[in-house]
């Protein structure tokens, strides 16, 4: 069976996923992805029914069983410093990030 995820497709996925992999990791992951796709192919054998609705959840969300939608409410957090202290790099309560690369669109 030919591999669906070729090295080229895999490299593209890795880039989109913002990952950078060692060669041994890449080899393992690409092999596992292709093995998983073999398992997923079982779904192709199921007779298609375009009228069958999709299920995003198993349990349906009847209005009577779900919380009513509400407006977003703003509440001040009592200890903002506690949250900010989790940031890897801070300067005067601003979270610092390195330079943002820019690409000029053609």
């Amino acid at each position: 069976m030919s591999e669906q995820i070729t090295p080229e497709i895999f490299d593209h996925l890795v880039d989109l996923a913002s990952l950078e992999l060692r060669a041994d990791q890449a080899e393992y992951l690409r092999k596992q992805l292709n093995n998983q796709l073999k398992a997923i192919r079982e779904l192709e054998a199921i007779p298609g029914d375009a009228n069958l609705p999709i299920s995003l959840h198993g349990v349906s969300y009847a209005v009577a069983e779900s919380p009513a939608p509400r407006e977003d409410e703003w509440h001040p957090y009592p200890d903002a410093k506690e949250i900010l202290s989790q940031a890897p790099q801070l300067e005067d309560d601003y979270i610092v990030v390195p330079d943002i690369p820019h690409t000029t669109l053609k």
Binding site: M1, I5, I9, F10, L13, V14, L16, A17, S18, L19, E20, L21, Q25, Y28, L29, Q32, L33, N35, Q36, K38, A39, I40, R41, E42, L43, E44, I46, G48, D49, L52, P53, I54, S55, L56, H57, G58, V59, Y61, A64, E65, S66, P67, P69, D79, E82, I83, Q86, A87, P88, Q89, I95, V97, P98, D99, I100, P101
Partner: protein
């Protein structure tokens, strides 16, 4: 028998009769942890020969805080106040829940330094009910696995029945801590079977509630349409009492159902007379692809597992239940392929937030710009299993493949749901109160035997994952031991919000089998 070996129900009774105190219960718990657990999981720690004989349930032990909580329960009791229905009962929390002020790691390097600024609703409700949290327990990284071996915090948890076998996963630390007598209750999560499968492997009771029955607020997300927090306990009563506490609507979670929570203990011992319990041939075999050829193989389940289910059916029939044979569940076999698609898409989406900017790990390697910082941080912070899920999720949800994979999987999910709707329909042909099945295709497997083969590992959940797709509740309970003296789990599945009925059936089975020989055998770690 030590205090820590007693059920939550017995502990609460002794406490209210003033025959013990919450502090004494906690001391017994901490003593047991000291005897059997070994060193907690940590980053960059290698497993040595000594580690292989211990359980390693914990990532973080919160003993000092637990002591304060236990003392507060005792003070409330002394002052004549009601300290809650689970007063003084020690419990552990899978380290996928945020608990204010404690490390909340998801067993991942990328969150190893993260301390949550808030507490998950389920944990908060346990604490409000008087239960005493003794620590955060190990799991597969971000819950991605069925053996707990993928944790970045090693040594990973081992099975108290035989420490050379896995505890199951991803709630391996939860199930092992309960089985080893460290705590009577643990809070786990179940996305494809992550409570029920380790409960089966460790010989304890595990409940996956109906999706939305328990709030997901404060749960670090894996697959948001599948994740369900739920109890792990040693008895059905304790599991029911714990679900009673954690279930119910929550303003912080718009998917938490507003349906009132029934009294799960009220009819617990009402028996099964007149109930219709189904057996399905589709749950007595597994279908999986050969990794080399891709050809699908069908395999019958081990005879010992089949025999345990059959024995449970006979026991329930003797108590007045009607056993309905040959119930068709034709889409069971598609549960794993559908899961490979849906869970990966949702996981990839949920994992994009970890970028080294606002919290969690930022790489210590030099970088030139933001994009490189993202890449280095995510590469350093995520283990192989999260990376695998991100890549698969992105592939199958890509615009050109979405119809072929994601949309198709969502349609097959409907078919799986309809299997259950058909058999639980009160006006239908089968009119089942519950479906009785094995929980797992095997008993606990050896450490390192499956880890690394992501396809084979996933098929460990073949009999549990359909309930997650359908959103229905499932209860796994001990159903015997195999010839290696490893626990066998049996599973009860029911219609939406039928937890009360499942507890009732489970308790009936537990009562009738309480004197069977296998129930007298203890996990090796306690012999």
């Amino acid at each position: 028998m030590e205090l820590c070996d007693l059920s939550a129900q017995e502990l609460v009774r002794l406490l209210r009769q003033k025959k013990t105190s919450a502090v004494e219960i906690l001391q017994s718990t901490l003593e047991r942890i000291g005897q059997v657990d070994g060193r907690p999981g940590a980053l960059d720690q290698k497993t040595n020969e000594q580690d292989k004989e211990k359980i390693h349930s914990f990532i973080t032990l919160t003993d000092q805080h637990a002591l304060q909580q236990a003392a507060a329960v005792d003070a409330d009791l002394a002052a004549g106040k009601d300290p809650g229905p689970l007063a003084g009962v020690p419990f552990t929390v899978k380290d996928i829940f945020c608990v204010k002020g404690t490390p909340s790691t998801a067993a991942s390097r990328i969150l190893a330094n993260f301390k949550s600024p808030y507490t998950a609703t389920a944990v908060e409700r346990m604490q409000k009910a008087g239960a005493v949290m003794v620590g955060k327990v190990n799991l597969d990284e971000f819950t991605y696995g069925s053996s707990t071996e993928s944790s970045a915090f090693q040594p990973s948890t081992r099975n108290p029945w035989d420490t050379h076998t896995v505890p199951g996963g991803s709630s391996g630390g939860s199930a092992a801590s309960v089985a080893a007598g460290e705590v009577p209750l643990s809070l786990g999560t179940d996305t494809a079977g992550s409570i029920r499968q380790p409960a089966a492997f460790c010989g304890v009771v595990g409940v996956k509630p109906t999706y939305g029955r328990v709030s997901r607020y404060g749960l670090i997300a894996f697959a948001s349409s599948l994740d369900c927090p739920g109890p792990v306990a040693r008895t059905v009563h304790d599991a029911a009492a714990m679900l009673q506490v954690i279930a119910g609507a929550d303003v912080h979670d718009s998917t938490a159902a507003t349906i009132p929570v029934p009294d799960y203990l009220d009819r617990l011992e009402a028996g099964v007379k007149g109930m219709r319990i189904g057996l399905s041939p589709d749950y007595s075999r597994i279908v999986f692809p050969d990794p080399k050829t891709g050809e699908f193989q069908e395999q019958a389940l081990p005879g010992e597992i089949e025999a345990s289910v059959r024995h449970a059916a006979e026991v329930l029939a003797a108590m007045g239940a009607e056993i309905v044979e040959d119930v068709p569940m034709p889409n069971t076999r598609y549960g794993i392929p559908v899961y490979f698609v849906i869970s990966r898409v949702e996981a990839a989406s949920n994992l994009h937030r970890y970028d080294g900017v606002k919290y969690g790990l930022r790489t210590d390697q030099p970088y030139t710009d933001l994009r490189q910082m993202y890449k280095l941080s995510r590469n350093q912070g995520f283990g192989l299993q999260p990376k695998l899920r991100i890549l698969m999720g992105m592939y199958v949800s890509a615009a050109q493949y979405s119809e072929q994979y994601y949309q198709r999987a969502l349609r097959v999910r409907t078919m799986i749901r309809r299997d259950f709707e058909t058999v639980f329909d009160p006006a239908g042909k089968y009119r089942l109160d519950a479906l009785l099945t094995p929980t797992t295709p095997t008993t606990a497997f050896e450490m390192d035997a499956v880890y690394g083969d992501s396809v084979l590992m996933q098929y460990a959940d073949q009999l549990t994952v359909p309930a997650n797709h359908a959103g229905i509740p499932g209860l796994s309970l001990p159903g015997g031991l195999d010839t290696k003296e490893l626990p066998i789990g049996i599973q009860l599945l029911g219609a939406d919000y039928s937890e009360q009925k499942l507890f009732q059936i489970g308790r009936a089975y537990e009562m009738v089998t309480e004197n069977e020989d296998w129930r007298k055998v203890k996990p090796k770690a306690l012999r």
